[in-house]
């Protein structure tokens, strides 16, 4: 079957099996291998992308369901020459060891900071209505959908804190 969607600002037409996940479409059909497959079951966050501006797990959705949708992957966030604030903060802070989870961490943090800006509360927010400070527990809770097998968490948190101050 065929699906047309916008990936990193470019319209892309896919010819694919009905079972193809959005993750496999990005990696295997479009060659955008920055987005990683860890668990393929929504448990690790390595496949996090932005769908119409919101962070989701690309492994738990079908390409067929995204006709006309807008997808942003790590390749669309910045380039080595012109990194996004989060990308450069991860480099500055060494927010990784092996790097496998990093694209997912950065995409997730990008979506997460936008949610924070909109005033979305979290499980650990003292108040539901008053907005949240960027404390360590808030970042840890809001990023709990991204696992890091190397446990680079302290530096990941540092990078996110740095990028959020830049904004």
């Amino acid at each position: 079957m065929q699906t047309t969607l916008t990936v990193n600002g470019e319209e892309r037409r896919l010819d694919h099996d009905v079972r193809t996940s959005l993750l496999d479409a990005l990696r295997d059909h479009l060659g955008l291998t920055g987005t990683k497959k860890g668990c393929d079951h929504g448990q690790c966050g390595a496949c996090t992308i932005l769908l119409n501006g919101k962070r989701i797990n690309a492994c738990l959705t079908l390409a067929a369901m995204h006709e006309g949708d807008e997808v942003t992957t790590i390749e669309g966030l910045g380039t080595p020459e012109a990194m996004s604030p989060l990308q450069s903060a991860f480099v500055t802070c060494d927010g990784y060891q092996c790097g496998f989870c990093t694209a997912g961490q950065i995409m997730s943090a990008t979506g997460m900071l936008a949610e924070l800006k909109e005033g979305m509360p979290s499980h650990v927010s003292p108040s539901l209505s008053e907005g949240s400070e960027m404390t360590d527990p808030e970042v840890a809770e809001r990023m709990s959908g991204n696992l890091c097998r190397c446990s680079a968490y302290p530096f990941i948190r540092e990078a996110i804190a740095m990028a959020s101050e830049d904004k």
Partner: protein, 340 residues
Amino acid sequence: MRDFTYLRATDADAAAEALGPEASIIAGGTNLLDLMKLQIMTPERLVDITRIDGLSTIEEDGDGLRIGALVSNAALAADSRIRAGYPVLSRAILAGASGQIRNKATTGGNLLQRTRCPYFYDTAMACNKRAPGTGCAAQEGAGRMLAVFGTSEHCLAAHPSDMAVGLRVLGATVEVRAADGALRTLALDEFYTLPGDRPDIETTLAPDEIITAVVLPAPRAGSVQAYRKVRDRASYAFALVSVAAVVEMDGDRIGKVDLAFGGVGPRPWAGDDVAAALAGETPDEALFRRAAGALEPDRAPHPDAAFKLPLLRRTLVAVLREATGLAEASPGTDHAKDAA
């Protein structure tokens, strides 16, 4: 994953026409695709309802709110009217899954997510819920996540939803559309069935029916609302037990109380008897312990899940302390206002 045909429904009539025993609705896909990859669910036809108009908004409905079935878990938890008037629902949703999953998961799909019993997930094992009549491997197996209330000799599984526990304590109803377009409205205890001898059947929904909305009654301004979830790690894990409470005070005495528990039953488990024992009393520790002590299952729990009963009682006492002002409120306990 088994092959299937895919239909993008443009309206509810088209969806209903394509539905039936061999078909499945797909909404957020976060539970269904997980199960399809493991061949635990093998629908021959997927009916994508995400492009149907009118199911994605939260609207006023009398004094309450009508939440469209496609409203995402994230949008529902963040809605200013829900945060103000129904804080226990925001808290319950925010206690579940991850930021990514909540952005994709829908209100209807969350209600219908399947159990997390490990034998349900393992196609090599006997499981009456997955394969009716094969037996229940959990009975003689490991059972840390199993239910303690409402089980049967055929199935001991717990319903995993946090959101549904928040909805239960608020007395929400589910609006269901039949294939001919007729709407019916069900209380959650009418919507979910108990396992009995047919644990594969979990609701009173017919194969060609669609959940169109969840309806909340008027907000309980002035009530204290709390959701507390106990789990094996601090975040991104299913509940061992959870307690949802709506408590109104009447001067120094406890007024109307509603309670619901998660992780302990095949559906969000109502604590009506405990709530009744609290109404009209002066809050104190002994009262709370006595009321919580009355929580007793009809059947002996699986030995691995027996710890859930004392854990539930203690969690309930802790929630009641904060909700009645005996202890300082921690995140998860909020004062409801008029839905702004």
